[in-house]
C-alpha cells in the first residue's frame, strides 16, 4: 500500500515515514501543497495524509483539487486546527477523516486501516482461497499454517490479495508497493514473486499466484 504525506514540518513527516514504513507501507512525502498536488495527480496512491497549513497551496485547496479531478482516493487531514468548525470545514472539503495534532500514532494507523478496508469487509483480515492475511499483525496463513514473510514480500502479497481476481500489472505493483525513490526496474518484482511462491508452496498453498505473460500477476479466489 502506498501513501502520500503532504506535510511541511520535517519532524512530523519524518516520524510518519519511519513509522508507516515499519508497517509495510510505501511512503512518499511532499513538503508543500503544490508538490503534493503534483504527486497526487501523477501517481496512483492508496491514501493521502494532508496537513492543513502548508505553504504554496493549503491542505484544503489540495483536497478540493484532488476531488475536483474526480479522484475518490481516501484523504485524511492531520492538522493542528482543532475547533469543531475546522473539523467540519475539512471534512466538507472532501476529506474522509480528520485527525487533530497532537495525535497518537496507533490511532493514525487504525484510521488508515479503516480507510483501506473494503466496504464489504467485516474485519481487517483479507482472504483469497486458502490464504488469509492480516495487515494489522502482518501475519499470513495458509489453511492455518503461518507463513513467515519479509516486509516487502508481505506488502506484495497484501497488494495482490486486496486486488484478487484482477490482473496486477508490473508497473502498478511497483507504484503501490515501492515508493517514488525506487528505480523502476520491474525485474525486482519477478524476484519477489519467486520468493513468495516458494514460501506459499512450503505452506501447502498451491500455485495461487498466476503469471499473465507479458502483463503481470493475479491471485484468483477459486
Amino acid at each position: 500500500m502506498r501513501l502520500l504525506i503532504i506535510e511541511d514540518e520535517p519532524g512530523i513527516a519524518g516520524f510518519l515515514k519511519d513509522g508507516l514504513e515499519e508497517e509495510y507501507f510505501a511512503v512518499d512525502i511532499a513538503y508543500d501543497g503544490k508538490k503534493g498536488l503534483d504527486l497526487a495527480m501523477t501517481n496512483d496512491y492508496d491514501l493521502i495524509i494532508i496537513d492543513w497549513m502548508i505553504p504554496a497551496l493549503s491542505g484544503i485547496e489540495v483536497c478540493r483539487l484532488i476531488r475536483k479531478s474526480g479522484n475518490v482516493i481516501p484523504i485524511i487531514f492531520l492538522t493542528a486546527k482543532d475547533t469543531m468548525e475546522d473539523v467540519v470545514f475539512g471534512l466538507d472539503a472532501g476529506a474522509n477523516d480528520y485527525i487533530k495534532k497532537p495525535f497518537a500514532f496507533e490511532e493514525l494507523l487504525a484510521r488508515i486501516r479503516v480507510q483501506l478496508r473494503n466496504t464489504t469487509q467485516i474485519n481487517d483480515s483479507l482472504n483469497a482461497g486458502p490464504l488469509t492475511i492480516n495487515p494489522v499483525t502482518h501475519q499470513a496463513f495458509c489453511n492455518s499454517n503461518e507463513i513467515t514473510l519479509t516486509p516487502k514480500e508481505f506488502a506484495l502479497l497484501e497488494y495482490l490479495v486486496r486486488n484478487k481476481d484482477k490482473v496486477c500489472t508490473r508497473s502498478r505493483i511497483i507504484e503501490h508497493v515501492w515508493d517514488i525513490h525506487f528505480d523502476s526496474d520491474t525485474s525486482v518484482i519477478d524476484v519477489y514473486i519467486t520468493f513468495l511462491r516458494r514460501k506459499l508452496d512450503n505452506a501447502e498453498c498451491g500455485n495461487i499466484i498466476q503469471t499473465i505473460r507479458g502483463v503481470g500477476y493475479i491471485i484468483r479466489e477459486s
Binding site: E9, F15, A80, F105
Partner: protein, 492 residues
C-alpha cells in the same frame, strides 16, 4: 419626630431612586415643563399687574380731575384750606350738576356716580354728596399723603382717594374722600385672573404631554442604538448601528460606536489569529516529539537509533521551551504588569556589549558589524528592556543576512532626539508586509520551517517594549537589499 424624619428621608431616597431610573424622555419632558411653567407664570403675573395698573390709573385720573374741579369751583388752592364751608356748596352743586346734565355730557356721565365726602381729622363727616345713602366712605385716620386705594361701598368695590386738606401752615385740618365704583373694571380683572388661573394647569399638562411626545421622537434613534448593541454578543460583533439620516449628535454617537466596534472586531480577530498561531506553534513540536517517541518504542532498536531520536526530541523540546518563554514574556509585557525603570543610558555601551555578545554567532555566518556610535549619546530608557530590543533586532539581522555581509549600527542626533539605525543587507521585507512585521507570529517567508528557527515573536516583543518606553520603532526595507530598523528615543 424621629420617625417622621426617617420617613421623609426614606421617601426622598425613593424619589431619587425613581428619578435616577426615569427614562430620558420623561426627564427631558419634566425639565422642560418646569422651566416653561415658571416662564408662563411670570408672564401671566406681569400681564395681570400691568392690566390692573392701567385700569386703576384711569380711575385715579378721573378722581383727580373731579377733585381739581371741586378745588377750582371753590376757588381754593390745595394747600390753603381754611374751613369746610368753602366746599360745602361745591359738593352739593356737583350733585345738582350731575342731575341737570345727565343726558348731554359724556364727561359727566362718566363721573356721575362719584361719591364725595368731607371729614375732619377724627373722621366725622362734615359734608357728603347726596348719592351716599347709608354707608360712609372708608376713612383711614392719620394719613398725611393723598392715597388711592380699593375699598367697598355698600357691597361693591370702589376706587377711592383720601386727600388731606391742609391750611397754609401745612396742618391737616380734614380730608376730602372721593370714590368711584369700579364695576365692569373689577369684572374684567377677575375674569382675567380666572382665565390665567384655570388655563395655567391646562397649558402645563398639554405642554408636558407634547414635550414627552417630541422627546420620545427625538430619542428614538437612541433606542435603536440600544437595541442593536443589546443584540451584539461576541460571535455576532459584525453587526453595525444603522446611521441616522441627519448628521447630528446621534449620528456622531452611532458612528463613534461603530468605529469602536470596528476596532474591537479587529482586536478579536487578531486575538483569534494569535491563539490559532500559538496553538499551531506549540502543537507542532509536541506532535513531533510524541510521534517520534511513539514510533520509537514500537520495536526494539539499536542504541544509536535511540540516541539520535532522543537528541532530535530534545532539540524540539528546547525550541518549544524557547517559544513558551517568548509567549510568557509577551503576555507579561502586554498585561502591563512590568513598569519600565527609565534612567539615563549611554547608548554606545549597550550597543558594544550586545555586539560583543552576538559576535560569535555572527562570525559563524561570516557576518561583520560596523558600529558608528558617538560619545555623548545619553538616552532615557530601561537598560534591560533596551538591551532586549537591540538584541532582538540584531539577532534578526544576523538571521536574515547572507554570509559575507555586514550589519551597520549608526547612532545620530536629530535636533533633540537620538536616533539609532540598525541596517542589514539581508533578504528584505516586501513593501506590502512592512506594517505587519510587528504582528505576532509574522514571518517574511511564511513557510514555518525555513531553518531560521524563529517564531515571529521577536519583533512583537520589540514593539511592545519600545512602546512602554516611548521609543518609536520604524522599519524601512528594500527587497534583497536589506532592512533598516530605526529607534527614535524620546527627547531628553
Amino acid at each position: 419626630m424621629k420617625i417622621e424624619t426617617k420617613r421623609v428621608i426614606r421617601n426622598t431616597s425613593i424619589l431619587f431612586k425613581k428619578w435616577s431610573l426615569m427614562s430620558l424622555q420623561h426627564r427631558i419632558a419634566i425639565y422642560y415643563t418646569i422651566a416653561t411653567a415658571f416662564l408662563i407664570a411670570l408672564v401671566f403675573t406681569i400681564i395681570y399687574f400691568m392690566v390692573e395698573r392701567t385700569v386703576y390709573k384711569q380711575f385715579d385720573e378721573v378722581i383727580n380731575t373731579e377733585v381739581s374741579e371741586i378745588f377750582s369751583d371753590a376757588h381754593v388752592t390745595r394747600n390753603s384750606f381754611t374751613s369746610f364751608s368753602q366746599f360745602k356748596n361745591r359738593i352739593d352743586d356737583k350733585k345738582v350738576d350731575h342731575l341737570d346734565n345727565k343726558h348731554d355730557d359724556v364727561e359727566h356721565t362718566k363721573v356721575d356716580l362719584e361719591f364725595t365726602q368731607l371729614v375732619n381729622t377724627s373722621g366725622q363727616v362734615i359734608n357728603q354728596s347726596g348719592n351716599i345713602t347709608k354707608t360712609l366712605l372708608t376713612f383711614n385716620p392719620g394719613e398725611t399723603q393723598a392715597r388711592y386705594f380699593n375699598t367697598t361701598l355698600s357691597g361693591s368695590t370702589v376706587r377711592q382717594l383720601q386727600l388731606p386738606l391742609r391750611n397754609r401752615n401745612g396742618v391737616i385740618k380734614g380730608y376730602l374722600l372721593m370714590a368711584v365704583p369700579l364695576k365692569n373694571a373689577i369684572i374684567v380683572l377677575s375674569d382675567l385672573e380666572n382665565v390665567f388661573l384655570f388655563s395655567f394647569p391646562g397649558i402645563i399638562v398639554t405642554l408636558f404631554i407634547l414635550t414627552r411626545l417630541i422627546a420620545g421622537r427625538s430619542i428614538r434613534p437612541i433606542e435603536k442604538v440600544i437595541a442593536t448593541a443589546e443584540k451584539m454578543t461576541q460571535p455576532n460583533i459584525n453587526q453595525r448601528i444603522a446611521l441616522p439620516y441627519h448628521h447630528d449628535e446621534l449620528y456622531r454617537l452611532s458612528s463613534t460606536i461603530n468605529a469602536l466596534l470596528d476596532r474591537m472586531q479587529d482586536a478579536f480577530q487578531r486575538e483569534k489569529k494569535f491563539t490559532a498561531d500559538a496553538s499551531h506553534e506549540l502543537k507542532t513540536p509536541l506532535s513531533v516529539v510524541k510521534g517520534t517517541l511513539e514510533v520509537l518504542v514500537r520495536k526494539p532498536r539499536e542504541q544509536e537509533h535511540y540516541e539520535s531520536k532522543i537528541q532530535f526530541c530534545l532539540t524540539e523540546l528546547n525550541r518549544m521551551a524557547l517559544l513558551i518563554d517568548q509567549l510568557l514574556m509577551l503576555a507579561r509585557y502586554e498585561s502591563n504588569k512590568t513598569n519600565p525603570q527609565i534612567q539615563e543610558v549611554l547608548l554606545h555601551y549597550t550597543i558594544d556589549s550586545i555586539v560583543s555578545r552576538m559576535l560569535p554567532i555572527a562570525l559563524e555566518k561570516e557576518i561583520s558589524f560596523r558600529v558608528d556610535s558617538m560619545e555623548s549619546d545619553k538616552v532615557a530608557a530601561d537598560p534591560g528592556m533596551l538591551e532586549m530590543i537591540l538584541e532582538n533586532i540584531i539577532s534578526n539581522a544576523i538571521k536574515y543576512s547572507p554570509a559575507g555581509s555586514y550589519i551597520a549600527i549608526k547612532v545620530e542626533r536629530n535636533e533633540r532626539t537620538m536616533l539609532c539605525h540598525i541596517s542589514d543587507q539581508g533578504i528584505g521585507i516586501p513593501q506590502e508586509k512592512l506594517n505587519t512585521v510587528f504582528e505576532r507570529f509574522y514571518r517574511v517567508d511564511e513557510s514555518r520551517n525555513s531553518g531560521t528557527g524563529g517564531f515571529g515573536l521577536g519583533l512583537s516583543i520589540v514593539k511592545r517594549l519600545a512602546d512602554m518606553q516611548q521609543i518609536n520603532v520604524s522599519v524601512k526595507s528594500l527587497k534583497n537589499m536589506g532592512t533598516t530598523f530605526t529607534l527614535k528615543f524620546p527627547s531628553t
